[in-house]
């Protein structure tokens, strides 16, 4: 009879826990490119806020946005902008456009096998490759071998971005092999000396990312997707990564999470994972403004004449600290207003920065770039060491379990 109250208590505790966990749960679905970033974010955030549980799933930007429309996810992570058709469907469903937050920057890198002798490409050449017009590496100054194209499935935001900004909405060559996930593309390219693939910069292991230039004009320089080049949009395929949220979803923990992601700590995670932080925390729901920015990325301002860089370099860091919202700033008490209010301010300030910051051309491997690369390397090494630490921990735990088992067996035999 004693067991009954204990049992009841246990059941109550379990249910209570489940309920409290349910109330604080955030689901985050979408872009495969962003999956590692989302996981790291949720990991860090859950460590800081034990009451909140964040569920991360991939599946592709299209899948995430569809889930947002169907109400099966709180946040849709997307590596491309919402298409007009998707916005229309969303409007019909919810009576309002979704809120859009920029959460990180990424350079869409074009990868080849490490032994490929090709030095650099123009965006036009990349397009020719994927349209099936260039079929041999010889045409680009490489070896006399055919080109094997690797790409992503059509539900991928990377696919959508590439199709819009590189292929200008033309069809991919039917020869393109479509693989599930950027990881699979990188793996295929790393094993195929004739291969070419594209994907987020955080995945560049055992493959070579090619420097890209806008066109053949003499003042456009081929650059690697380093932090500086992506932030200044000098790298042709610089793109923001987005979170989309329903305007009807006004839960305070969601607003808090997005504020944390775009804030200082969240942006530090971005750097750790290998993507690039926002130049200022940006949150904008004005789609037209976003679109203009996208066009700017693709058509690209021609780099300014060579005399400009000194002034530019001095001017550049100045606006940053002002733009970044203070993480300690007082939080608006009414949760409903938070997502709606935040976008208004930074959206304008971003437009302002765009004008203030002239684009400085740089040689292919400037000291800046090298510094950025070393920083990335350090970040990668950090990650590796943390993995090693965790492995140690697991080994220790396993040893403990084994010793306990031995002890139990001994006790059993003793009996």
């Amino acid at each position: 009879m004693k067991a009954l109250p204990t049992f009841c208590l246990l059941v109550a505790a379990v249910f209570g826990f489940a309920l409290s966990a349910g109330a604080q749960q955030i689901t985050l679905k979408g872009s495969d490119t962003m999956v590692i970033l989302n996981q790291k974010w949720s990991e860090e955030y859950m460590k800081k806020n034990p009451g909140v549980s964040i569920q991360v799933t991939g599946g592709g930007s299209g899948t995430g946005l569809a889930a947002l429309k169907n109400g099966t996810t709180d946040v849709a992570a997307s590596s491309r902008q919402m298409k007009s058709k998707e916005t229309q469907d969303f409007l019909v469903q919810f009576g309002g456009k979704p809120l859009c937050y920029e959460v990180a920057l990424d350079g869409l890198a074009v990868y080849v096998h490490a032994s490929n002798p090709v030095k650099e490409l123009t965006v036009e050449q990349v397009a020719q490759l994927y349209l099936g017009k260039i079929t041999n590496w010889k045409q680009l100054g490489g070896d006399d071998v055919p080109v094997v194209l690797y790409g992503r499935e059509s539900n991928s935001g990377t696919y959508g971005y590439f199709k819009e900004f590189v292929l200008k909405e033309s069809d991919f060559s039917p020869q393109t092999q479509t693989l599930a996930g950027t990881g699979a593309v990188i793996d295929a390219v790393s094993k195929d000396n004739k291969g070419v693939g594209y994907g987020g910069i955080a995945y560049s292991h055992h493959v070579k990312a090619l420097p890209l230039r806008f066109d053949n004009s003499p003042n456009s320089v081929a650059v690697l997707p380093t932090m500086e080049n992506v932030e200044s949009r000098k790298y042709p395929l610089s793109r923001p990564l987005y979170f989309y949220v329903s305007p009807k979803n006004t839960r305070p923990e969601l607003a808090a999470f997005i504020r944390w992601v775009t804030g200082k700590e969240g942006q530090k995670v971005v750097t750790d994972v290998g993507y690039y932080p926002l130049p200022g925390a940006v949150a904008a729901n004005d789609k037209d403004k976003e679109k203009d920015k996208g066009k700017e990325a693709s058509q690209a301002p021609k780099p300014a004449p060579v005399s400009a860089p000194v002034a530019a370099a001095e001017a550049k860091p100045a606006p940053k600290p002002e733009l970044r919202p203070e993480p300690t700033a007082p939080v608006a008490p009414a949760p409903a207003t938070v997502p709606a209010e935040t976008p208004a301010i930074p959206a304008q300030s971003v437009a302002a920065t765009k004008e203030e910051r002239p684009v400085a051309p740089q040689p292919a491997a400037s000291p800046d770039e090298i510094a950025a690369l070393t920083r990335r390397e350090a970040a990668l090494r950090n990650r590796e060491s943390s993995v090693a630490e965790r492995e140690d921990e697991v080994a220790k735990r396993e040893a403990a379990v084994a010793s306990r088992e031995i002890a139990m067996r001994r006790a059993y035999r003793g009996r």
Binding site: G59, G60, G62, T63, A66, K83, S84, K85, E86, T87, Q88, D89, L91, V92, G95, G96, K97, P146, V148, E153, S154, N155, Y159, K163, E169, S170, D171, F172, P174, Q175, T176, Q177, T178, L179, A180, A184, D187, A188, K191, D192, K194, G195
Partner: protein, 415 residues
């Protein structure tokens, strides 16, 4: 209850009281009755489920099947300001949304919707705008699309002009299934003959469960193995261009098919009466002659059924081909080119096709066609097996077997 008076005389009169016996009989009848009814209900339910699935698939693809879906874009646009005053039917047609949905929207949302739709249509100035790409002519015949140099079979459902040519997908599916069967059928049948007829008891006890264990390997594991290991190994042997192609996919698929064909064929061979084998051996046949010329012909209907089942599995398998086939929808008969199969297409594209859209309906259509193919094959195979069996039985009846053992043959050799 009615059973008790009938059976009573068989029981010795004083073994136990009559009423107890009646009770027992009653209970037995009731439990049997209930069990029978439950089984009937369950089998009816499963048949109902099958019918419901067919109805569901047919319902989703019916508009395409009957030519009611249209992707035609007319050149005219609607002014967002006047949209609210226009008839709902006209707006609904323009926005490609159902009429009741449009009626339920506020004027403000409607205005935004029309503006978005205008923006969407403004981007496409294409000579193919007026085509309905879901018509049967465009889904089965080659067409010279804008931007292509010659008429071609193109599957590009996420393009601005959606292109739904089914021929490359069917070709790909058949190619992969054919390669898988060419590899799997001889291997599986030889293994079945060896294990059931020639191997010693000890070898059989080891080999049979080991081959059947292969059936327990999840197809996603096979696909991953093909993607990571097989593709690299085969490329270094054959030096073909595309790392992932129909040969790699077919080879991996063969591993999924072998255990199925093996198990069914082995059962069929073991079901042939022992007398056949003894007779052949007594007449001086070697073990191999006995297996090849007596046992295999006797088990032929079962072996045929095994191959048909294997074909069904090969054509319906998704994960292996999704991983290992490269997924490029090209028209080529070479086994070393990438292919895109129907199942992989459905698996990768259904998640981001908006429900009710033309893309969604076409995906259901190819799913339905896939079902039709396997259904037709199974039907034909069933007929063939029936004829084969009656012919063998007739043969057996006329000749030796009827004298030795007239009854043993009737039906035992069937699966």
């Amino acid at each position: 209850m009615s059973a008790s008076p009938k059976r009573q005389p068989e029981i010795p009169p004083n073994s136990f009281p009559d009423d107890l016996y009646a009770d027992l009989c009653k209970r037995e009848v009731i439990t049997d009755d209930i069990a029978g009814r439950i089984m009937l209900a369950l089998s009816t339910l499963s048949i109902l489920a099958v019918v419901l699935i067919f109805v569901f698939v047919a319902k989703e693809c019916l508009p395409v099947l009957t030519g009611q879906t249209s992707t035609v874009r007319s050149g005219k646009t609607i002014d967002p300001e006047t949209a609210a005053k226009m008839p709902a039917e006209e707006i609904a047609a323009y926005l490609q949304q159902p009429v009741p949905t449009i009626r339920s929207l506020t004027p403000d949302v409607l205005k935004q919707l029309v503006a978005l739709r205008n923006e969407e249509l403004a981007g496409s100035k294409n000579s193919d705008d007026a085509l309905n790409t879901t018509s049967w002519a465009l889904m089965l015949m080659p067409h010279q699309w804008q931007g292509y140099s010659e008429p071609a079979y193109i599957w590009q459902p996420t393009s601005k002009i959606e292109k739904y040519n089914l021929v490359p997908l069917f070709l790909g599916t058949c190619k992969v299934a054919f390669i898988a069967l060419v590899i799997a059928v001889p291997l599986a049948l030889l293994a079945a003959i060896y294990v059931s007829q020639i191997a010693s008891v000890r070898v059989r006890e080891i080999m049979k469960p080991l081959i059947e264990l292969l059936a327990g390997v999840p197809s996603v594991v096979l696909g991953f193995l093909a993607l990571i290991a097989l593709a690299t190994i085969f490329q270094s042997i054959f030096h073909y261009e595309a790392r992932l192609n129909s040969f790699v996919a077919g080879f991996a698929l063969a591993f999924a098919v072998i255990p199925l064909i093996f198990t069914v064929a082995e059962d069929a061979l073991s079901a042939v009466p022992r007398a056949h084998k003894d007779a052949a051996l007594a007449l001086g046949a070697t073990e191999w002659e006995c297996a090849w010329r007596v046992m295999v012909p006797a088990a032929l209907p079962g072996i045929f059924a095994a191959v048909v089942l294997g074909f069904g599995r090969a054509i319906g398998e998704t994960m292996v081909v999704l991983f290992a086939s490269g997924n490029s929808s090209i028209m080529s008969l070479s086994p070393f080119d990438s292919v895109r199969t129907i199942t992989a297409t459905i698996g990768s594209e259904l998640a981001d096709a908006a429900s009710g859209s033309a893309h969604y309906q076409v995906l259901f259509l190819i799913g339905g066609l896939l079902f039709l193919i396997t259904f037709t094959f199974n039907l034909l195979a069933d007929l063939a097996i029936g004829r084969l069996r009656s012919r063998i039985e007739a043969l057996a009846g006329r000749e030796t077997y009827s004298i030795i053992q007239p009854k043993a043959y009737s039906g035992d050799a069937a699966i």
